[in-house]
Symmetry: C2
Subunit: 118 residues, 2 copies
């Protein structure tokens, strides 16, 4: 008889802000992990003014909502300033980065799950 352990990647149904731990995500950047399953993860990233999301790429699709602040964002060589209420999309493996112009918060959705954040 064979036994196999199946680990299910899935968050709780509810995430309460004050109970959700912060992770260091580089100088001037902190993140909280919100809901996730195998194919999806939602993350809040809080930036101090001047903090950078240094250019990077990953196989995960990323769709982001700017909850507050202002950011200069570069995606695949296209640069734009986005402010609270705007958003952006990063296809798989496309180089992207940002500079925080006014302190603020990004809500990042990824597919599949960013297991490196767990």
């Amino acid at each position: 008889m064979n036994f196999k352990t199946v680990v299910m990647i899935q968050s709780d149904f509810f995430q309460i802000e004050q109970e959700t731990p912060w992770q260091d995500a580089g100088p001037g950047v902190q993140r909280q992990v919100y809901g996730y399953g195998e194919a999806l993860m939602l993350v809040k990233a809080k930036f101090e003014k001047g903090a950078e999301g240094t250019p990077h790429q990953h196989p995960h699709l990323q769709a982001t909502y700017v909850a507050s602040g202002a950011f200069e964002v570069t995606i695949g060589g296209q640069k734009n300033v986005v402010v609270a209420g705007d958003g952006f999309y990063v296809p798989a493996d496309v180089l992207h980065g940002c500079t925080c112009l006014e302190a603020g918060v990004l809500i990042d959705a990824f597919s599949p799950c960013r297991e490196d954040f767990l």
Copy 2:
């Protein structure tokens, strides 16, 4: 010789709030579609006080961030009140719904893409 049309499901890199159309999403609810690719879609849903997300289910995973307002949310029979800064997660095919207690905005991430919103 065969020709095949391949339609790529992908948003622009940038979504500017004022340029993004609103869709009617039921009484007291409107939505804007933000970034998306085949496996991911980000959506903003704006609720008037008292508006309902009537109980429904879909095969898409859903992770939501409460950008503003207050909502009573029920997921698979678990009920909780979430306010600005909180979040929730809905696994595939799990019945969920909400009632808006204070006017507000939800940022919904789905995997795969909600092609029915395009």
